[in-house]
Symmetry: D2
Subunit: 456 residues, 4 copies
């Protein structure tokens, strides 16, 4: 096979790879790269371990991809963008995989397009495992043997591959949660949920406005850390003073919204949102269902009564906005969120570290701890809807070349979310990270932090 | 679990169980029943053996059911209709299976409805195997131990279960053929296709008309063999003299139709058919595709160049009708077909007997043998579209009671097919057998036998 | 304009022209033809007279055509099939009308296709009137002046034009009834409904079976009257003895069906019908609505409380079949209906003659008169659903040539109705007339006559 | 009729009334109000004058409303919001009109919902004229007779009614343009297009950034002029320096884009836009069609060859964005646009004044005049797509009370357009005016002004 045309790379609407500036990654030493490579790759396999071949095959709606597709697609990334161009005597593991696991190809025809991923039973889960092992061996070999010049050249792409795979680790969990939710046997992915904790009151934190800067500080080659290009450039923005809730909206508070007719009062809703409420019969968050008058919630830990102290999750932007209107508040802008989060300092550590046994981990947002004058639950619980549409930053220019060609493509019709969630791999998110989904999306782990104008 | 309400039994649009008159089956001895039970049940498992858990999970379109669903549904039939009412201390293997594998429930809600069968990853293929074994053991015990009176009572239902399972054996193969057809890896279900044989010319056989009788001779308790109730009552019909082609239309002949603009000439088509041609871009039989100017056909033996001597298959009624118009002929009525087939005597023997290794069998229509003055290919190659709508016979009355309640339900909007096909289990079809599909269906193994008025 | 290609003529799914055998019409004298021409054409304009330009413009669903389209289309027929070929120095009134009013063109693109007829505001109702006058003048001139040879040649086409226009007279009323039904102002097309009359009991009439003949006796050139080719050939059919109700099912009887859960009991319905009941929320005949617990019916005379003595109308085949099942009866086959109707002698006279003022006529089925040992309400009230699919008669062959090319096109997926209705022009229907609609159609004036097997 | 509940008022997705702060209008003297009332109302009738009753009835797609609906709806506004509350002994002209012309009711059921406006043939165009006259007379009476206190109270609502009616004047023209575009007779609304003028080159104007203010200066009661509430509050925003093209993109430039594969190169398009290009077969602006290799454009003046010097119009946001990408530029933000427009001073005068005869006016964007160092074509030619999503300004709060209840409802999923177009009534637009449409809308008169970052 000729080296695949990198111009064709696009990860698809769900994958949302934004590329990096090609020279922006620190030329880490080969040893470190190999070690991080192994770590990232092993984590994907641990996440898939509890899932049967049948589980890994199902695509429960067009937005969802099968587990084995995720496992293969991230592998295809390394094979195509690293091995094909750098491995001596490169030969594809399986030529047809290039079509099956290349998300770009969804665009050119219905047959192997995104909604058809669930009909491709072969290669099976075990075959995908062999594909992964093969590419892992070849990647180790390559990274062990390349000269320093080549290493410097490919390090940024390998680094991008790590972050790409981490995105798919989160998607894999989001997607399998949806798959299992449709099964009346109420299957469980892992252990049991965290024990309930007492509710803590919501406090408001005040932030001065003024001329602030947002966006990532700069890319790696200028001494910064990794970022996607949609976080660039860092730029000035004028903010009026504002206030943010110090924790997320809870399930208990959401039940009050429901009890007060929240899903039946047109005046609370954006017009498009009200259309969805009626067309799709929304009356509670996505994974809630009522059994004999009691609300239950589908989680990766099984189906449990809704815990009122936990943050509400799996609500659309429309629901988040209607809730804020009902509460007499509003959602934060992404600039307000980032400015406040940055003031608080690096928060990545608040993401739960993960052990090697996924079945004993918690895969659900946790209750807020006691109020402490800081923004609680910034990372690691729920992605937080903002009131900002996903648009390019002033001065944004797509990176030259192949990967960059598709950078801004999704900057239309979607809303920005900030933070991170219980399914986000540790270390993946940051204050400047811009996640995005259409306003009606409900299967990501999304929650609500209220905001208000200052001086009220 | 309380014994399930038999009034709820309906096998769904695809399954099309038509019930039997409850007392119509010969009270075979228990030993024979057990032995036939084992035979039928084992054949289903042999058919599934080449299929991976992933293969068995996929539902490639709403009309298709996953292999493991077929395997479980036919088992549910015996558990529900035989064990639940007759097994002492009956307890369901798994209560939820009743919902998952009861095709009636497709009607009551979207969640576990027919189009959602492909999202239910659990129980997996192996779990279904355990369900089958459990029911098989309990069925053997029951049949071994029941007194003669009970045996007489349940024999008809068990017999119906055999024919029901045989229908699903054919559906299982039809469905997995569709699943595998969408996979660009071009998977193979079994061995290789039969070797090509020389084409033989088409001859016409003449049949006198007059007042004839069609329909099954009568049910078992009157000394006849098994039949579905839609084959009853036997009744008189007036036929003008007619002619039938002595073999099916071949791929080679179909290529002439294509070459002569068959799919582009509106005047050849029924109005609804022409709509489908245009809306769905039909330009050849369902499983044909053109690669570098050569027609290939997807089969259960893989993808092969179209063999011009084999009968054309996987064409809709609309295509069959358009072909007949193009050829200056017509399709036979079901009465003409049955009358002619009955004159020729029992044809079931023309279905290929099957060995125990499905991978060495032929799962595709075979070429016609040399002309011999008889109707060749009547059974065992392609179901043959007739020009008759699927309607009740004069005097048809649904059987009293539960199963009979749903007998005539599908007698609307479908066309009758006669004969049998390469996927039909040996001994399942007969001259009076009425198969039926909507005029646009293309995934069953359907072919064309031409007819003409007599005296031309 | 070159004479339009007659091969393109097709009147569309609604118009359902079936053509005639070209030489099958009596070569009436020119004078008679002109006089009948004037009569038929004038009746169309009288029917349109109560309708405003706005009324005449609306297309309320894809099956409905605007009044002014009907008026123009039937005019186009005479211009295209008579004038274009026979008028010396023919020149089209307006070239573009050929596209706008040629129902064939619905097939070739979305822009001027059937569902778009309601967006063509020009030519307006008045312009269509000028088109009609122009063609009428030219037709009179032509018929006055042609020699006998030409007259003989075109008489059959002119005759077909009459029957074509009569079909559209009925469609015009069916369609405007639907248009007005959607208007909350409850508009009235004409006068007031007929006064209520006492209900009369239903009696059963017995008919012997045997070898009978159905189909039209033969076309005009063999001394018969006009018929469409789908009524040919007359042929033999074997009937078992049967019984027919001597009147149509009434609104009062239908209310009992509703009260007994008729629309909620799956076991009464064909599978496809049950799907429609649920998908479209059917709970009563098409034009019924309940206001404060009382059933009202939209008619061309306005909205009135449902009169229990009138025949039920605007029910689909599915509803008719479910009602018959509920009543323990069945629908008649078309052969049974025609055989019985023919025995009773010509019935066309039962259609109400019409005066010149449409606003004082009754445009709704009337109550059955007193029982008199005959089949009451055979013509002129409701088209009667049969249990027969619309298929070609044995020996049916499309007429050679242009018009005949499309004859059998609609013989797929529809059910036969027999009789005639309150909107059918007097003299249009006959015992052998085969009307047809899809089983789900509810906007034609359709009713139910029950049948039963003999000897019960 | 009881006074209608003002809480129900909403003008629908297309009408997009945004309400005003109720006390924000100058209490003009009654005389002035009456005179302006007459002027606004008369203009609507002049716009409708060239349209036949049939033209006024058609709804060519769900987004379009019939002319007679527009004429009635704006009348309903005055009847409901002014007369019902202030007219002594108020009685509705026709009670049912409240349902038919109340755009709120589209939300509560399918029958009289927005997409069904085209099936309501009655009241006809003439009846609507009588409704208008009646309300006009009563409004004159009311305004003539009320005391000053009441006048002060209702003046703001009457003023809102003017702006509401002006919005519908533009919509009426937009909509009838679409209706007529589907008619193969190529109807003409008015006169002939403006004569061609020479093309003028595009120049760039530079603007400094910094901390700027945008938004309307404040409402009338604070001494300002009328504005909608979505233009408030005026607020600070930080802008980097930028450049704007001094004229709109021309048809000639767009042809270069087409010739360079603009509609076939995925890399130029936003992902959602590329989906539309493929799903809907976009290959040129909305009203363009190619005849024998020449591009023609449907206009209100008929169908004419595309004039390369005129601004391109009827392009979606997706197309505008793709064009800008192709040109190596970008679209302006709404803040950039408003800041630059405000610097240039009031521009409303650039809208063409209108005479009393609509048939001699120009209803199409005009060519740019000679370059003169200013932003040409800011108002009165094409609405200009910006890169800004339609979101609330910082500090935006819906006005208290009824009308304000629905203010922010449409701030989701739409893009902002600035300026005004050839169909906008003179005096209606202003620099702070925020128009908005979904990114895929093509039937408004939309064009493209390019922008770029400063310092390039």
């Amino acid at each position: 096979m000729a080296p695949p045309d990198k111009r064709l790379f696009r990860c698809g609407a769900r994958c949302k790879d934004r590329g990096v500036e090609p020279t922006s990654t620190p030329a880490g030493e080969a040893h470190d790269l190999v070690s991080r490579y192994r770590e990232v790759r092993a984590w994907t396999e641990r996440l898939a371990a509890p899932l049967s071949p049948e589980d890994q095959t199902v695509q429960s709606m067009p937005d969802v991809s099968p587990t084995k597709w995720h496992r293969a697609h991230v592998t295809w990334f390394f094979e195509t963008f690293v091995l094909a161009e750098n491995e001596p005597g490169f030969s594809a593991f399986q030529e047809q995989y290039w079509f099956l696991f290349n998300s770009y190809y969804e665009a050119i025809g219905p047959r192997y397009s995104r909604p058809m991923r669930g009909v491709i039973s072969r290669p099976g889960a075990h075959d995908v495992g062999r594909y992964r092992s093969n590419v892992d061996d070849r990647m180790s070999d390559l990274l062990d043997r390349v000269d320093e010049g080549t290493l410097a050249k490919i390090a940024a792409t390998v680094e991008l591959g790590f972050h790409h795979e981490q995105q798919h680790q989160e998607l894999l969990l989001m997607d399998i949660k949806h798959v299992l939710s449709l099964n009346p046997l109420r299957p469980v992915y892992a252990g049991s949920p965290a024990a309930a904790t007492p509710a803590t009151p919501l406090s408001w934190l005040d932030f001065d406005g003024g001329l602030v800067e947002i966006g990532h500080e700069g890319s790696a080659d200028r001494g910064g850390s990794f970022c996607f290009d949609n976080e660039l450039p860092r730029h000035q923005q004028w903010l009026a003073s504002y206030r943010l809730a110090d924790r997320l909206v809870t399930n208990g508070e959401w039940m009050e919204f429901i009890a007060d007719g929240g899903y039946r009062r047109a005046e609370l809703w954006l017009s498009d949102g009200w259309g969805r409420v009626n067309d799709e019969g929304w009356c509670a968050p996505f994974y809630w269902s009522q059994i004999d008058g009691v609300w239950f919630e589908h989680t990766l830990h099984g189906t449990w009564p809704v815990d009122p102290t936990l943050p509400v999750c799996h609500v659309s932007h429309y629901e988040a906005d209607a809730y804020a209107t009902w509460a007499g508040k509003r959602l934060p802008t992404e600039a307000e969120w980032e400015h406040a989060a940055a003031l608080q300092g690096p928060q990545e550590a608040t993401s739960p570290p993960r052990g090697s046994d996924v079945s004993t981990e918690t895969w659900h947002p946790r209750a807020a701890g006691p109020a402490d004058g800081t923004l609680r639950q910034l990372f690691g619980d729920c992605w937080e809807w903002t009131s900002s549409a996903y648009l390019p930053y002033p001065g944004f220019r797509p990176a030259p070349g192949a990967i960059g060609e598709y950078n801004g493509k999704f900057m239309s019709g979607q809303m920005v979310l900030r933070g991170g969630c219980a399914l986000t791999p540790p270390g993946h998110a940051r204050a400047s990270y811009r996640n995005f989904f259409p306003a009606g999306a409900r299967w990501p782990v999304t929650g609500v932090r209220l905001a208000d104008d200052g001086g009220r």
